[in-house]
């Protein structure tokens, strides 16, 4: 009877990654808020200051990693929430690929923005 509950996708890996990214994001999100609202203030934002931070390699790579983990954590969370409502079959496949495409667009756009500040031009 257990076959009924079978599937080719064991959820364990995504479950673990959701936790790993969570542990990372707890720290980085707190840092992000602190830096951009308490150290620097919302009404003082300028392109030059953002650029100044992004030109540092450590800050740039931290922000890119932040973007990647946040996107995974967020989009995977949305997917899980939808799957928990009993989504299956073609609907689930459609949702999955829509979310993958949205994530890719988000990451590409985010990195392009970071590059604009850091002065990196790929093309």
């Amino acid at each position: 009877m257990s076959e009924r509950y079978s599937s080719f996708e064991p959820g364990g890996r995504r479950w673990l990654w959701q936790r790993v990214t969570a542990a990372f994001l707890v720290v980085v999100l707190a840092f992000h808020f602190f830096l951009l609202h308490f150290v620097h203030h919302a009404d003082e934002v300028t392109f030059a200051m953002s650029a100044g931070r992004m030109e540092t390699l450590s800050y740039y790579s931290l922000m890119v990693l932040f973007l990647l983990t946040a996107t995974f954590h967020g989009v995977n969370g949305v997917y899980n929430a939808l799957v928990n409502t009993g989504l299956s079959g073609r609907q689930r496949t459609a949702v999955k690929w829509t979310l993958v495409v949205a994530s890719v667009v988000l990451i590409v756009q985010g990195i392009r923005t970071a590059n604009a500040w850091a002065g990196i031009s790929l093309v």
Binding site: R19, A22, A23, L25, V26, L29, A30, F33, H37, F38, H41, A42, D43, E44, V45, T46, F47, A48, S50, A51, L67, A70, T71, G74, V75, G77, V78, A81, A102, L106, Q109, G110, R112, T113, A116, W117
Partner: protein, 131 residues
């Protein structure tokens, strides 16, 4: 057993008054999660005005930050983020099997702490904005 009666969804969220701590924690975590992922997309969209040059970026951010509505929404965002972080820590502990008997206490603690942090941050978040 030819027929049976299905009571439908009334049994779920229609019963919200009877939810316990763990259930509320889940509801809030889901809700704040949706808000945060929505904000992530908006955030990148706004920041990518930097692609159109320094003036466009600085102008956009200054305009937005000059609006009281935006500042108030930012306080809301802080509340949502802080709760998600604190309850997230609670959930990580639950996943590690630590303190499961005290999970309701840790939920209330994260609520109270969120409230305290948000209230304490209001002056900073509303600084430099004119009505």
């Amino acid at each position: 057993m030819s027929q049976s009666y299905n009571r439908g969804l009334v049994e779920d969220f229609g019963r919200w008054r009877e939810f316990s701590a763990g259930m509320w924690a889940w509801v809030f975590h889901k809700f704040t999660g949706w808000v945060l992922v929505g904000y992530l997309f908006t955030h990148i969209a706004v920041l990518s005005t930097a692609l159109s040059g320094p003036a466009a970026y600085t102008g956009t951010i200054r305009t937005l930050e000059g609006l009281l509505v935006v500042r108030v929404l930012e306080v809301g965002l802080l509340a949502v983020a802080v709760f998600h972080i604190l309850n997230g820590c609670r959930l990580l502990l639950v996943d590690l099997g630590v303190g499961l008997e005290r999970q309701d206490v840790s939920f209330y603690a994260s609520l109270i702490l969120t409230g305290a942090i948000v209230v304490a941050s209001v002056p900073t978040f509303l600084a430099g904005v004119s009505l």
